[in-house]
Amino acid sequence: MSLLEQVVEHLKTLEGKPGEFKAMVSVTVPKDHLLEAIESSKDAGFNMISDVFGLDYLSYPGHQGKRFSVAYNLYSIEANERIFIRVNLDEGETLPTITHLWSGANFMEREVYDMFGVVFDDHPDLRKLITPEDLDGHPHRKDFPLGETPTLFNDGRFLDPAAFRAGLRGDSEGLTGFVGGARKGVASQQKPEGGKA
């Protein structure tokens, strides 16, 4: 049994729900067991923190459940394996910090705080990392606008990039006049199996 399987088995005992997509293993754990799950994975051999990042499922089609996810990307150098430990949370919920396990999580958690507004309890220095001090909001949230400036053409006509692009998404006609739609034989248009990874 490989290290990854061992850890996944252990995380199942912590109410973890494993998922696999294209040989990438992720385990969604409840918030209360997050610290325990990460600590046990670290002790088992996932000794390098690769990344901590947030995801916002606000406009994900068909998504149910909590809005945000925070994923911890851990890597084991000896076993050459990678695991994603994920936790789902809603607006206003906080997460425990893991900076005492890895000092390198400092910037990563600050970035998640900056971009998604997820607060990490007991973080030593929780400030904005990247965006300017005077920027209100959290840019990577789906309800934060991209903030494009409309393009002004010589004839005095403005072109709104978002309206132009809407046709690409397939949810409205946009300026391209194309209404998306299913194509024969395209797998993505069929019902996804097994939900998200």
């Binding site: 965006t131 300017p132 920027l135 840019p139 934060f144 606008p145 991209l146 903030g147 494009e148 400036t149 393009t151 990039p161």
Partner: protein, 178 residues
């Protein structure tokens, strides 16, 4: 040649003997145009091409602009090389304000000139909204040759040999007026 020659001889004759006539303003501008010292204001990709313009192949030193000054107080021209984020904009304004008059600005690359491909919440869409720009250099990034050409165009502007889009001659040391 005696000093009296200056008053007795014809201008054409004197020029044949190697004496040139100019106004002091033009002479100063000529000297100034050949030693435009840029402030190092590399921001992104274009900064690498700005570095390359001083290397052995392109050699910006031929036009007197190779002395990149770390201190804005010693610089004449600021080359804004790269995309300017909204967090960096106040700092750029401050660097510009610290430069002594007369001063010029080259906006290098598509991002600095128009926001380029980054039409979003983080990038200033035109450097001209923060500091007055004299020369725009297109490209993503512009080749070092393009930057060398921009410096040569700026030299023309400094010497008063440049014209605006309506064909009206631009004033020689526009920088004083700022």
């Amino acid at each position: 040649m005696a000093l009296t020659d200056l008053f007795t001889k014809d201008v054409q004759e004197l020029e044949n003997e190697g004496i040139l006539f100019s106004s002091l303003e033009k002479l100063v501008a000529w000297g100034r145009s050949n030693s435009l010292w840029p402030a190092t204001f590399g921001l992104a990709c274009c900064a690498i091409e700005m570095m390359q313009s001083t290397n052995s192949r392109n050699d910006l030193a031929r036009f007197g602009s190779e002395v990149f000054r770390a201190s804005p107080r010693q610089a004449d021209v600021m080359i804004v090389a790269g995309r300017l984020s909204k967090k960096m904009a106040p700092i750029m304004k401050r660097v510009y304000d610290q430069m002594p008059d007369p001063k010029w600005v080259i906006s290098m690359g598509a991002c600095a000139s128009s926001g380029g491909m980054f039409n979003n919440y983080a990038i200033v869409q035109n450097v001209d909204s923060v500091v007055p720009v004299d020369i725009y250099v297109p490209g993503c990034p512009p080749r070092p040759e393009a930057l060398v050409y921009a410096v040569m165009q700026l030299q023309k502007k400094v010497r008063g040999e440049a014209f605006d889009e309506r064909g009206i001659e631009l004033p020689m040391v526009e920088g004083w007026a700022r």
